[in-house]
C-alpha cells in the first residue's frame, strides 16, 4: 500500500516537461499576461513535484510546501498583474518589447 503504483520517475519527468513548457512560454511570448500565465505553469510543475515526493516519502512537509507555494504564487500574481496594469495602461500597448526603457 505504501508503494506508489506509478514510479516516482514518471512524476519527475512530467513535472520537468511542464516546467520547461512554461519556460519556453515566458521567453517566447510578447503579451505580458501570457508571460505571467507561463510563470504560473512553472509554479504548478514545482507543486506537482513536491506532492509526488510527499507521497513517495509519506512526509506531509511536501504538502505544506505546496500550500506555501500556492500562497506565494497568489501574492506574486496579484502584484505582477498590478504592475502590468499600471505600465501597459499608460503605454497603450500590450507588447513587452515596447517598454524597453532600460536599453543601454
Amino acid at each position: 500500500m505504501n508503494v506508489m503504483t506509478v514510479p516516482l520517475a514518471h512524476y519527475i519527468a512530467l513535472s520537468a516537461v511542464i516546467f520547461f513548457i512554461g519556460v519556453a512560454g515566458v521567453v517566447t511570448r510578447r503579451n505580458p499576461l501570457i508571460m505571467l500565465m507561463s510563470i504560473e505553469l512553472m509554479f504548478n510543475a514545482a507543486n506537482l513535484l513536491f506532492a509526488a515526493f510527499a507521497r513517495a516519502w509519506l512526509n506531509n512537509a511536501g504538502h505544506i510546501f505546496v500550500f506555501l507555494v500556492i500562497t506565494v504564487a497568489a501574492a506574486e500574481a496579484a502584484i505582477g498583474l498590478a504592475i502590468v496594469v499600471t505600465v501597459f495602461r499608460s503605454a497603450h500597448t500590450v507588447d513587452v518589447d515596447d517598454v524597453a526603457l532600460l536599453k543601454g
Binding site: M35, D97, V99, A100, K103
Partner: protein, 671 residues
C-alpha cells in the same frame, strides 16, 4: 679576514694630497667666470701642493714593517666602511708613490705650461677645473687600497678624458673623438667590472690585500678569466690592440691634455693595474703570455704606423701607443721593475716631446703638419733642444733615460722566457728610432716650407691643418696685443720644459746597476721575484744589440731626410712619400674600418630598426591595442543591454540550463 697592505695609521697629509685637486676643481667650476686668468695659477698651486705632500710622504710610503710572516710596505689610511667587503681606504706604497710623484710632479709642470698655452682662451677656468678633476681622479685610481675605489677612479678618469678631449666642443671632430674614446673605455670598464665581480665572488672582499692573500687559491681557469677581464680594461685604457683606435683621435684635445693624459698618466693606468695585480698574474703563465704578446704587437704596430703619420701630434700619439706596448709587455711577462721603469722615464720624455711640439704649434700659429714645417732649428732653438733630447731618450741612446728602461724591458722578456718578444722588442726599438728621427729631421732641418702650396707637398686636406687652436682663439677677446701675449705666455711654456729636459736625460742612471740599483731596492718588496733561468744573451749584450739596431734606424732616417741632397729636394721627396704611402698604413691597418663594420653599423641599424618598426608598431601598437580591446569589450558588454524583457529572460534560462546540465552530469555519475 681583512688584510691591509700598508702600515695602518693616520696620515692627514695623504688625505690632503688626495683631496686638494678636487677642491681646486670645485672652486674653479663654481667661480670660473670670476677667476678668469687666476684659474691657471690656482690650478697649478693645488697640484703643486699635492706634489709637496707626496714628497712629505716619501718616508711613510717606503717604510717596511715585518711582523710574523706578514710583510707590510707603505702607509695605509682607512677612510670609511661602506658594507662588509667594501672598506675604502688609501694606500701609498712604492708603486703608488711612484705614480703619484709622476701625476703630481709632471702634472704640476704641465699645469704651469698650460697657463701659457691656453692664454687667451675664453674657457680657461673650465680647462683648469677639468685638469684638476683629472688629477683627483687619477689619484683616486692609484691611491685606492681596493678594487672598488680603483674602479671609481677608473671611471672618473675616463670622464675627465672625455671632458678634456672634447674641450673645444664647437669642433665636431673633437666631440666625435671624445665620444669614441669614452665608448671604447666603457668596453674596458665592462671587462674590469667583470673581473671585480669574479674576485668578489671568490674572496668576498675587494681590498687588494684580501684578493692577493689568496692568490694561490683561485682555480687556474677562473684566474685566467679574471686576468683576461682585467686586461680588457687595461687594454682599453692604455690603448692596446684592438682597443687602441681612440688614442690618435684623442689628439683633438689641447696639447697639454695630450701631454698629461694621453702620454704620462691616464694611458698608463692599465700598466698600473697589471703591476698592482702582480700577485694574480704571477700565478698564471697563460695570462702572462697573452698580455706580453699583445703588448709586443701593439709596440710593433704603433711603431709601423708612426712611420706613416704627418701630423706631429699623431706621430707622438702612435709613439705613445708603441711605448705603452713596451710597458705592458714588460709587466705582462713578469718584468715588473722594467715595465714600471719604462713608465717612469716615458712620462718625462713624452711630456717633454708633447710640450715641445706645443711650443712649435703655438709659434707657427697652429700648424701641425710636419710637411709644412722645416728649418726651425734657427727659428725655435729651444724647441729643437727639447725635442732633440726627447728623441734621443725615446730612441734608447745609451746614457739617456730611455736606454736604461727599454733595456730592462727587453732583457726582461728574455729572462722570463719569451725569445720572440725579445726579438720583437729589439726590432721595434729600431723602428722607433727611425720614425722619431724622421720627425726631428723633417721638422727642424732644411728650409721652412710654410709658404709652399699644400698640394705640392702631397697634402690632400690642407684646410684641416691648424684648426684646433685657431678656433679657440677666435672665441676670445684679447686684451693684450699679439706680441705681448706671446711674450708673457712663452715663459710659462719654456720653464716647465726646461725643467723636464735634465730629468729625461739623466733620470735613467738610478736604474744603473741591475740588482743593486736604487731602483731595484725601491721595489724590493713590491713585486714577486721568481727564480729565473740563466739567459743565453746577457743584459750587456742585449744593450749592445739594441744600440746597433737603433743606430741602423737612425742611419736610415738620416739617409732619407737629413742628407744635404734630401734637404734640398725636401718638397719633392715629401710629396713622393705622401703620394706613395701604402693604403694599409694610411688607414691604420683598417682597425677603424673593422670596428666600424663590426660594432658601429650594426648598432646604428639596430637603433633604426627600433625607431622605425619596433617602437611605433609594437610598443605603440600594444598601447593602441589595449585601448581598442577595452573599447571592443565595452561595446560587446553593451550589446547585452537591449532593454527587451524577453532577451533578459532568455539569458536567465540559459544560466538555469547550465546549472541543470551541471547537476545532471554530477548526479548522472560524472560522465
Amino acid at each position: 679576514m681583512h688584510h691591509v697592505m700598508g702600515v695602518d695609521g693616520y696620515y692627514p697629509t695623504l688625505i690632503a694630497l688626495w683631496l686638494l685637486p678636487l677642491l681646486g676643481a670645485i672652486l674653479m667650476w663654481a667661480f670660473g667666470p670670476q677667476l678668469r686668468s687666476l684659474a691657471g695659477p690656482l690650478g697649478s698651486a693645488t697640484i703643486g701642493a699635492s706634489f709637496v705632500a707626496t714628497l712629505w710622504l716619501w718616508h711613510p710610503a717606503t717604510q717596511r714593517f715585518l711582523s710574523g710572516g706578514v710583510d707590510l710596505v707603505g702607509a695605509h689610511q682607512t677612510l670609511f666602511s661602506w658594507i662588509p667587503g667594501f672598506d675604502f681606504g688609501l694606500l701609498i706604497d712604492p708603486l703608488s708613490l711612484l705614480w703619484t710623484l709622476i701625476i703630481t710632479g709632471v702634472g704640476f709642470l704641465i699645469h704651469v705650461y698650460s697657463i701659457g698655452y691656453m692664454d687667451g682662451d675664453r674657457a680657461i677656468a673650465r680647462f683648469f677645473a677639468y685638469m684638476n678633476f683629472f688629477v683627483f681622479a687619477m689619484l683616486t685610481l692609484v691611491l685606492s687600497d681596493n678594487f672598488a675605489g680603483l674602479l671609481v677612479g677608473w671611471g672618473l678618469v675616463g670622464l675627465a678624458s672625455y671632458f678634456l678631449i672634447g674641450f673645444w666642443f664647437f669642433k665636431p671632430s673633437a666631440v666625435a673623438a671624445a665620444r669614441k674614446a669614452f665608448v671604447i673605455n666603457v668596453v674596458g670598464d665592462v671587462g674590469i667590472m667583470f673581473a671585480i665581480f669574479a674576485i668578489f665572488a671568490s674572496v668576498h672582499s675587494l681590498a687588494f690585500a684580501d684578493a692577493f692573500a689568496f692568490a694561490g687559491s683561485y682555480s687556474t681557469p677562473w684566474l685566467f678569466v679574471i686576468c683576461l677581464a682585467l686586461f680588457i680594461g687595461a687594454a682599453a685604457k692604455s690603448a692596446q690592440i684592438p682597443l687602441h683606435t681612440w688614442l690618435p683621435d684623442a689628439m683633438e684635445g689641447p696639447t697639454p691634455v695630450s701631454a698629461l693624459i694621453h702620454a704620462a698618466t691616464m694611458v698608463t693606468a692599465g700598466v698600473y693595474l697589471v703591476a698592482r695585480c702582480a700577485p694574480l698574474w704571477s700565478q698564471n703563465s697563460d695570462a702572462q703570455v697573452l698580455v706580453g704578446t699583445i703588448g709586443g704587437l701593439t709596440a710593433l704596430v704603433g711603431a709601423i704606423l708612426g712611420c706613416a703619420q704627418w701630423d706631429i701630434k699623431r706621430i707622438l700619439a702612435y709613439s705613445t701607443m708603441s711605448q705603452i706596448g713596451y710597458m705592458i709587455m714588460g709587466v705582462g711577462v713578469g718584468a715588473y721593475e722594467g715595465g714600471v721603469a719604462h713608465f717612469f722615464t716615458h712620462a718625462f720624455f713624452k711630456a717633454q716631446l708633447f710640450l715641445g711640439s706645443g711650443i712649435i704649434i703655438h709659434a707657427l700659429h697652429d700648424e701641425q703638419d710636419v710637411r709644412r714645417m722645416g728649418g726651425l732649428l734657427k727659428r725655435l732653438p729651444f724647441a729643437a733642444v727639447a725635442i732633440g733630447t726627447g728623441v734621443l731618450a725615446i730612441s734608447g741612446i745609451p746614457g739617456f733615460s730611455g736606454f736604461f728602461s727599454k733595456d730592462q724591458v727587453i732583457y726582461g722578456t728574455l729572462a722570463h722566457g719569451n725569445p720572440w718578444l725579445y726579438a720583437l722588442g729589439i726590432v721595434t726599438a729600431g723602428i722607433t728610432a727611425y720614425y722619431m728621427c724622421r720627425l726631428f729631421f723633417v721638422t727642424f732641418l732644411g728650409s721652412y716650407r710654410g709658404g709652399v702650396d699644400p698640394s705640392d707637398l702631397g697634402m690632400r686636406h690642407p684646410e684641416l691643418a691648424g684648426t684646433s687652436h685657431a678656433a679657440a682663439s677666435s672665441g676670445h677677446a684679447s686684451e693684450e696685443t699679439p706680441e705681448e701675449h706671446s711674450a708673457n705666455a712663452e715663459w710659462f711654456m719654456i720653464v716647465p720644459v726646461a725643467i723636464l729636459i735634465p730629468f729625461s736625460v739623466l733620470i735613467g742612471w738610478i736604474m744603473f746597476g741591475g740588482e743593486n740599483s736604487p731602483w731595484a731596492h725601491f721595489f724590493a718588496e713590491q713585486f714577486p721575484h721568481p727564480v729565473l733561468n740563466a739567459t743565453a744573451i746577457s743584459e750587456g749584450m742585449t744593450g749592445l744589440i739594441t744600440f746597433i739596431v737603433v743606430l741602423a734606424g737612425i742611419g736610415i732616417a738620416y739617409l732619407r731626410y737629413a742628407t744635404a741632397n734630401a734637404q734640398s729636394n725636401a718638397v719633392a721627396r715629401l710629396r713622393a712619400e705622401s703620394v706613395h704611402m701604402p693604403a694599409v698604413l694610411t688607414n691604420a691597418f683598417y682597425f677603424d674600418a673593422a670596428l666600424d663594420a663590426l660594432f658601429v653599423r650594426p648598432s646604428q641599424a639596430l637603433g633604426r630598426f627600433f625607431g622605425r618598426y619596433l617602437d611605433p608598431h609594437v610598443i605603440d601598437g600594444a598601447v593602441r591595442e589595449t585601448v581598442i580591446s577595452a573599447e571592443w569589450l565595452g561595446t560587446l558588454t553593451r550589446s547585452f543591454q537591449t532593454g527587451l524583457l524577453r532577451a533578459y529572460a532568455l539569458i536567465l534560462v540559459f544560466g538555469a540550463a547550465c546549472f541543470i546540465v551541471y547537476y545532471a552530469i554530477v548526479a548522472g555519475g560524472l560522465h
